[in-house]
Amino acid sequence: MEPETNDPQYADIHRDVVRSIVETGPKYYAALATAIGVTLLCFFFPWFYQLYYGLGAAGVNHPQVWGTYLASFIFWIGLSHSGTLLSCVLHLSNSAWRKAMYRSAEAMTLFSLMVAATFVLVHLGRPWFIHWALPYPNQMEMWPNFRSPLLFDVMAIGTYLTGSSIFIYMGSIPDFAAVRDRTTGWRNTMYTLLSLGWRGTDTEWHRLHWAYTFLAVLIIPLAVSVHSIVSWDFALSIVPALHQTIFAPYFVVGAIFSGTAGIVTVMFVLRKYMEGFDQYITKVHFDNLGKLLLVLSLIWTYINVLELFTGWYSGTSTEYEALNYKLFGYYAPLYWEMILFCAVAPLLCISKRFRTSFVPMLILSIAVNIGMYTERFLIVGTSLSRQYLPDAWGVYVPSLVELSIILGSFALFVTLFLVFVKIFPSISMYEVKETMVIPAAEPVVPKEGSPT
């Protein structure tokens, strides 16, 4: 067990964070090169092959026209959920423990949303016409179909992406200014531009705080609505086992669940590989996130039981068949794996000893996300293979191209994150300072202007 470190001072924060941006070791370059290499090889290469060959490169068939691409899309949207949502909720509830982790959590939101958006392109049969799904005046005098849940999706994700980008950027402005004051050369120029002339006056702080709170309030309903809308892609159909009113809360809870687990993973990695971060990301964070995981897992389990109940209570043969297929059919092992990882394993978080141990929490968080990916796959997989006409029943197995693209999407995410830690101060310096004991001797006066 790691001992509690000495309380860091104000200057230490700046030193640690700026160092994490400016000083780049060979390990980082090796990691970045690997990530970019894997992204190109496992994501873009198979995707281009698929663009050339057609969607037949994936395992999709009739009736399983939706495959892992859509599952991955939901998964990445889900993963994006906790970041900004958690950050907003905790900001509004004044939780001090949020401060060390929220920047990386928000970055996770942003990047998983980007990866999710890419999956929309991968999923489409003719992605080069994606702009037709956007409402813009055009020479064809055609609008998109506003009744379509898929169009709601485009709107929701666009809004969420815009909102969370502004949110993370606005929260980083004072930190950009702090880094600007401690760097030289091109970095100084870049941070001068990014910090928008931040000087740290009272008025500026006041306005920042006001705008930040305003955005936080705005983003919470947005985050809830985004995944509800994603769920409507399924729930608005009349496919047995998809046509359920519980789907919106089911997706939202699932999203926050997998997102929280994702944050645990990212925090573990940051803590382990970024020098000095173990002072700021501590057991307290893992303890709190563990509690959150436990609660979310219980709600998630409840909704799952409810889903089974609704299917049984409907009393129709199609719903029975879908239910039976889910529990005991071709994909049943995956279903029970999901139950084990997402409903049973998180119960370990009841023990405080478990919540405060880092490696077990890491393993749990990864298990939860594997389980949640399975859940998304099953939503697409089991229900489409058992629809109304038994003549059109079928099974679907992902192809190598699909598996490779799933793997590649993680590399894409890691690449984006690795670039992020070198540009954004990955810990919010000014907010971490707020949680510290104010030093007796020197009161902190924000520096004015850049030193050059």
Partner: protein, 254 residues
Amino acid sequence: MSILERFIEGWKKYRKPGYYDEFDYHWAMTIDLDQCTGCEACVTACQAENNLPIVGEKAFAEGREVKWIRIERYWEGEYPDIKLRFIPMLCQHCDAAPCETVCPVSATYHNQDGLNTQIYNRCIGTRSCAVYCPYEVRYFNFNDHHWDSPLEQQLNPDVTVREKGVMEKCTFCIQRIRQAKDDAKDDGRRRVRDGEVQPACVQTCPTQALVFGDRKDPESQVSKSLNNPRAYRVLEELNTDPSVVYLKKVDAKG
């Protein structure tokens, strides 16, 4: 006309009650299962008429064949007492089609003839229409198809050859309907007469189990067929309001 006036005009039109059910023609089909022998002549005729690709053995095994009309086969009972049931399944041209609402780019919509149409040029390949369709009659082009020479010579010039990434389905041979409507117009007639237009499957059916026509014309063969007491619609409980009506098979007792 100014933009505003045009908008008001359009708004009034769309607000008219029953506007969406008001069709010029209302094409419908009845399939008499008592006469159907399951010979699959309709499947072949459709394949020839509509440039359906021959996907090959591998793609067929993967479940990627394209058959706008297919004969579904069901076994009833256990071995000694076994019965084979079959039913031709094609796009039902639902008046309340689930596939139409879900398409984000309106590539599938209901036209003024009561047809559920698919615009290949507009399709971006989300495949959600195929998921939403309870009859599973929408087919996706998983890759480009090619016809070995000289087979490309027999492609129907009135029908598009679909590229990869596009959804397709039964059109009730819309090219023939268009042709018949044009002919009717050229003759100075207002409407297409009953029997003047037939989709390839109807034309081919050796037992004349398939009947096609305008449901709005009470004298047409299909309208009379619709009043048959054996008439039923597949998955009627889903309220999709299909335009294809089946006439129940009469079982010989024993």
